[in-house]
């Protein structure tokens, strides 16, 4: 091990990262409360002018097609027009994709951003397949943040991380193996430390921690959702990244999601690809 990475070191250096969006933890808190009001969500979103603009843009597009005479100018009206779930997911996507864009080093920004959005969309598609009830918003957050540990490595251990990427390319093994050889831990572990530090739920932390090695925890639906979404992002090559690789898909995770990889998979692939392109077009 050349350059050990420790939990204390990761947490300490996270202070140098852009501030984790408070909107995400606030929305997560409302998910635990079924009585959380529409007004409360509107208030949270209106604290952030960038997210507010995204939500109003979406609502105004719908309003135009419904031939409404007046423009939508407040989040409360937007929620009543396009629905609570849609507004919540739009806010989460815009907020976290903006955060990832700020965290990623310039050279890796484009790929990380696109890959995270595709995995987030994959999680939205896969969560309803789970054999146990799974919160789609938590799945979206876990999917968008699953590789945050790689962003940390690229930012704070740049040269060694590039070496790990090169080793992985040469050997054909997953990047996590090269990372463990160099740093003692992999990006999934680092991402989980960061997620825990930011106060995200234990289910999200475990899903990030296990996305490359999920078999021991495949009975947790969020673990299965993030793992399979990540594999599909690479398998379908939606980002066109030359480094995309698939080493395996966990059979227990597939079983948790009722996926048997027969012809019904064609529709799932199409939905993930089209929704990903839609999301990337909207968020750019």
């Amino acid at each position: 091990m050349d350059i050990p990475v420790t939990q204390d070191g990761v947490v300490a250096s996270s202070e140098q990262l852009p501030v984790f969006p408070a909107l995400v933890t606030r929305i997560l808190a409302t998910l635990e409360d079924p009585d959380a009001s529409l007004t409360l969500l509107a208030q949270y979103i209106e604290h952030d002018p960038v997210i507010t603009a995204r939500v109003l843009s979406l609502a105004n597009r719908a309003a135009t097609h419904r031939r409404m005479d007046t423009a939508v100018s407040d989040v409360f009206t937007a929620i009543s027009l396009i629905g609570l779930a849609q507004v919540r997911q739009t806010a989460l996507m815009a907020s976290l994709s903006g955060f990832l864009d700020q965290v990623a080093p310039v050279t890796k920004r484009h790929y990380f951003w696109e890959h995270s959005v595709v995995v987030g969309v994959g999680c939205l598609e896969l969560a309803p397949h789970a054999m146990q009830p799974t919160n789609v918003d938590a799945a979206l957050i876990a999917g968008l943040l699953h590789d945050i540990g790689q962003l940390w490595l690229a930012r704070f251990r740049g040269e060694a991380f590039r070496r790990a990427c090169g080793d992985s390319q040469q050997s054909g093994a997953g990047i996590e193996h090269s990372e463990r050889a160099l740093f003692g831990v992999d990006h999934a572990c680092i991402g989980a430390w960061l997620a825990a530090h930011w106060g995200l739920s234990e289910a999200i932390v475990r899903a990030i921690a296990s996305h490359h090695a999920p078999d021991g925890q495949a009975d947790e639906p969020l673990v299965a959702v993030v793992h399979v979404a990540e594999v599909l992002s690479n398998a379908l090559d939606i980002t066109g990244n030359a480094e995309s690789r698939v080493t395996s898909v966990s059979a227990p995770c597939c079983a948790m999601l009722g996926l048997t990889w027969d012809d019904s998979a064609q529709q799932l692939f199409g939905r993930i690809e089209a929704r990903s392109r839609h999301a990337m077009g909207f968020l750019r």
């Binding site: 997953g174 398998a235 090559d237």
Partner: protein, 105 residues
């Protein structure tokens, strides 16, 4: 004419396209049937329902040779992505087959 099913973001939908699958609302109720030729009104309805994508039956004007070339290029790319995969695992092998089928369509 030969056709193929394509899933496209809603921004790429236009009048005259033919739906390849039913379009469903958030409650999985179909509101536009497969086979429908999209009109301006249908596009407004899709946008008003916040549709993010649709499946269309797209005319496939490629020659047989072009189809074969596209499929070969896609197969090569997918094999590169799966080159380190453990294909003795049934789930991984089955996933590879479905991805090959999807990209060769």
């Amino acid at each position: 004419m030969r056709t193929r099913k394509l899933y496209i973001p809603i921004a790429e939908a236009h009048v005259g396209m033919v739906l390849g699958e039913d379009v469903q609302d958030n409650y999985r109720r179909p509101y536009q049937p497969a086979g429908l030729t999209l009109s301006d009104e249908n596009l407004h309805q899709l946008a008003a329902n916040h549709a993010e994508f649709i499946c269309i039956l797209a005319p496939d004007e490629r020659s047989d040779d072009a189809i074969a070339d596209d499929a070969a290029a896609a197969t090569q790319r997918i094999q590169t992505i799966f080159q380190g995969a453990d294909l003795t695992q049934p789930a991984t092998a089955a996933l590879l087959q479905q991805v090959l089928l999807y990209r060769s369509a």
